[in-house]
């Protein structure tokens, strides 16, 4: 059934090497539109590296990153970072929140609509002379920002510096800011990190709403299994840069390879000789 409709993102044979270190080794997966695809794995498995390749912060050593949009195809491995966000429509958040801390909450959301506003202001010239078209575009940008502020419950704090918000609100704001770029694919790097149980419940609601109302694809890196199992439609498990599972959340949870990667290997006969002999002596 998954293959019936075309995927939104198709990653083929992605490999990323840093000198001798292979961070991602021949990874292929698909992300569907209107689905939340979670990428999980132990620390250092290469999850964030996948995001950095997708969003152009790293240039993949090998591989094809193919984004299918109704209005055309994009090969992300050939594009500059800011073009991927601007033209292909991939937005992301960061593991360590990257808001414009000194600017207000509202300004953060309006900066995200930079390219549309820049065109409306005729690349600054029209804005300088105060064209009515630019005024309208600015009003529309503020209205859109306001809509997101209502959704993430920050209307009251709209004119405060983003850096003064509590941690959970900063996470929500970063997601709203990414959504203000009108993406087709939203990449979230550990959005639930540092949130309490109530906040991560709210996050689940928000992500479901984004998927269902905006019909976009969501790629999610997450360690919080209640979030992953609660909202993902599909889970991909990485370990040492390789894909070890790719299935529904239920199937992944039961997968022995995944359990092995997370909990370590069960005792086996392949223990070093010294250890086994030591154990036998004790027994």
């Amino acid at each position: 059934m998954r293959d019936a409709k075309p995927p939104l993102l198709e990653v083929q044979h992605l490999t990323m090497r840093f000198g001798g270190l292979v961070a991602i080794d021949d990874l292929s997966f698909r992300a569907m539109p209107r689905e939340i695809t979670a990428i999980i794995g132990p620390n250092g498995a290469g999850k964030t590296t996948v995001f950095n390749c997708l969003t152009g912060f790293y240039r993949a050593s090998v591989g094809r990153l193919h984004l299918h949009r109704p209005d055309g195809d994009f090969y992300l491995e050939q594009m500059d970072g800011f073009r991927i966000a601007r033209e292909a429509g991939i937005a992301r958040t960061f593991q360590n929140i990257r808001l414009f801390a000194g600017m207000t909450v509202l300004e953060n959301l309006v900066v995200a609509q930079h390219n549309r506003l820049m065109r409306a202001s005729l690349y600054t010239v029209g804005g300088l002379v105060g064209l009515p078209g630019y005024r309208r575009a600015e009003d529309a940008a503020v209205a859109k920002a306001r809509q997101w502020l209502e959704r993430i419950d920050l209307v009251k704090r709209a004119d405060e510096p983003a850096g003064s918000l509590p941690y959970g609100a900063q996470r929500r704001l970063e997601i709203a800011r990414a959504m203000c770029t009108e993406p087709v694919l939203l990449c979230l790097d550990e959005p639930a990190a540092g949130l309490n149980a109530r906040e991560s419940g709210e996050l689940n609601e928000l992500l479901r709403a984004i998927r269902d109302e905006y019909g976009i694809g969501v790629l999610l890196i997450e360690h919080d299994m209640t979030v992953v199992m609660g909202i993902s439609d599909h889970v991909i498990v990485l370990d040492y840069g390789r894909k070890i599972a790719d299935d529904t959340p239920e199937a992944v949870r039961a997968d022995p390879a995944v359990i092995k990667a997370y909990l370590g290997e069960e005792e086996s006969e392949e223990l070093p000789l010294e250890v086994t002999s030591d154990r036998e002596r004790k027994a």
Binding site: A85, R98, F100, T104, V111, H114, A145
Partner: protein, 439 residues
Amino acid sequence: MPGDARHRNAQIAWIGLLKDAALAAGVTLILAIPLVGLQAKEVNGGLTINTRFDVMAIAVATVFCLRFLFNLLRALWPARRSGAGWHLPALDRRRLAIVALLAVVFAVALPFLPFSSRYIISLATSVLIYVMLGWGLNVVVGLAGLLDLGYVAFYAVGAYLFALSAQWLHLNFWYALPIGGVLAASCGVLLGFPVLRLRGDYLAIVTLGFGEIIHIVLQNWVPVTGGPVGLAGIPAPTFLGMPFSRTAPPGTTTFYDYFGLDFSPEPRMIFLYYVILVLALITNAFTLRLRKLPIGRAWEALREDEIACRALGINPTTTKLSAFAIGAMLGGFAGCFFATKQNFISPESFTFIESAIVLAIVVLGGMGSQLGVVLAAIVLVTLPEIGRQFASVPIIGQLGELRMLLFGAAMVAIMVWRPRGLIAHREPSLHLHRRERAA
């Protein structure tokens, strides 16, 4: 009982206080030996060294006593310390507008106020040049967060462009002004390209190098720039085509003949003052407007986090280049004006110290604050002048020699009491609640 506790605390700290005062006196001693204790004197064409250890001893003793008293007072009234220095009254939008309006009214009226003199107008003109340079550099440093130590290069480009075009093409100031701005902006883009990948300290060093390159070119390209001798005979701007000269060139009327005035330098100086005032006010309106446009917000976003900007689809290259170009353009305008005001320019006017002063104006004023730049420019330009004034007063005359020291002390004081600049308030470029109230 609390009185007793305070008394005991003061007694316990006694030795500490003495130690601290002795330390301060020791530091003063080390500094004072070369600065105060030894004085170079010219005697019969040779240099001899005069010792002034008595003055030095007084300085050291004064520092010891003052430091001791200061600490004693702090120990006796510890509550005083929580005040943490002085505060400017909070500047909301309305107060800021009133202050700005008063400042503009004062600036417009200045040449006709009773205490006004040629000296005051000339000083005010210098202040305004620095205000304009400060506002220009504020775009690069304050908004876009790109540390530029070679800003004087663009100032020099504007100045030399006007001097050369007046010399070779007989171009009027009013035609040279836009050309100077555009040429300086092109230089900004030219410098911008290679340094786009650099940030912070690295960027500062490259821009410093660029400033030096321009300085060295001006100094050594003798056939064009006149080398260290500089370029003289730069014409003053005309007032609606009427020159400020004693005798009119063929086909024109002088300003003095037209208004039936006797020839004197005052009208010309007042006119120049108004020219720079208008240029500075245009610069201010322009940069304030830019800040509220998407490009201005993108600059600020770039200052806050470049990686996040890229993730939002903002092109960091063009955004940085536009900041460099606009900052450079404003510097070029100021340079054109400087050339026409001075009548004469030489590489000496475009040394690193100028870049440093303009940067100090931006940083001390409070990054991104327009009014702060004005305050800092007034302080930094007039302070050395005040020192110069006192040089002729017999008793305080010694202080006049130390006017650069005074200058440094003022900078240290500002940084101690107002580490984020004189005015550290940032006005948001958009205000949701205010907009909605207005609607």
